[in-house]
């Protein structure tokens, strides 16, 4: 007999799928552009700055990419832990820790991007 799941679990399940489909597109282009299609010389600040600094679409792409990535990562780890029926106390503690890590990662990611976008450095 299937257990009823809470609305929150259903929402995060759906968001995991949704962010996953987005990430499939994001990662495919990200890896192609930054790992495969870049064929000459070392990647340094100037290269990244030139690539991202001038384009509105690259900026929007990366500012969306980071939160999607962080959500998918932490929610994925939580889904694995939830499979093993953790106790109430563990659940609350983990969720608080994950929220803190998530917000921190998104903040650091956004700061990094803003610095990489900077014009005329």
């Amino acid at each position: 007999m299937a257990e009823r799941v809470s609305n929150q679990s259903l929402l995060t399940w759906f968001l995991q799928r949704f962010s996953g489909l987005f990430l499939a597109f994001f990662l495919f282009t990200h890896i192609d552009v930054h790992h495969f299609l870049h064929r000459e010389g070392l990647i340094d600040f100037a290269v990244v700055n030139q690539r991202l600094g001038g384009s509105f679409w690259w900026k929007l792409y990366y500012l969306l990419f980071v939160p999607f990535c962080v959500f998918h990562a932490l929610n994925g780890i939580w889904a694995i832990l939830a499979d093993y029926r953790p106790s109430g106390g563990f659940t609350v503690t983990t969720k608080i820790v994950f929220w803190v890590i998530g917000i921190l990662l998104i903040f650091i990611g956004a700061m990094t991007l803003i610095n990489l976008f900077a014009v005329g450095v």
Partner: protein, 135 residues
């Protein structure tokens, strides 16, 4: 505590159902955990941009050599297995094609092998003579 015997349970789970679905499930989890670890390392390396472009160049220089070019192959393997398997799960779920999930797994595997062959061909020059010789 529910986490007692975590590894033992995982071992029993995978041994009770020896089919491609279980294999895909296990690898989806392993690659998922690996990618989260990579995400944190990636953030660490790139966040040096916050303290200026000299720091960024220095730290980026550390990870652009033949050894990391080899590790990049493992990264791409993890990303594309997780991506293709995630798409397989989504397609089977949303379109109600769960009964054909094994067929989709073999399609996934063919695509994965093709992507990995391309990856190795692209990474080989980086692994042999320094990083990115001009072509």
């Amino acid at each position: 505590m529910a986490f007692k015997g975590f590894l033992k349970n995982a071992y029993i789970d995978t041994n009770l159902n020896k089919n491609v679905g279980t294999f895909a499930y296990l690898f989806h989890r392993i690659t998922g955990i690996g990618l989260v670890v990579y995400l944190i390392m990636h953030t660490y390396v790139l966040s040096s941009a916050i303290s200026g472009h000299q720091d960024f160049n220095k730290r980026m220089g550390l990870v652009q050599n033949p050894f990391f070019a080899f590790l990049e192959i493992l990264l791409v393997a993890g990303v594309f297995f997780h991506m293709l398997n995630g798409l397989r799960i989504s397609i089977c779920d949303f379109f109600g094609w769960s009964r054909a999930h094994k067929v989709f797994f073999w399609i996934e595997l063919v695509l994965f092998v093709a992507i990995m062959i391309i990856t190795v061909i692209l990474q080989l020059p980086k692994m042999q003579s320094g990083y990115y010789p001009s072509i």
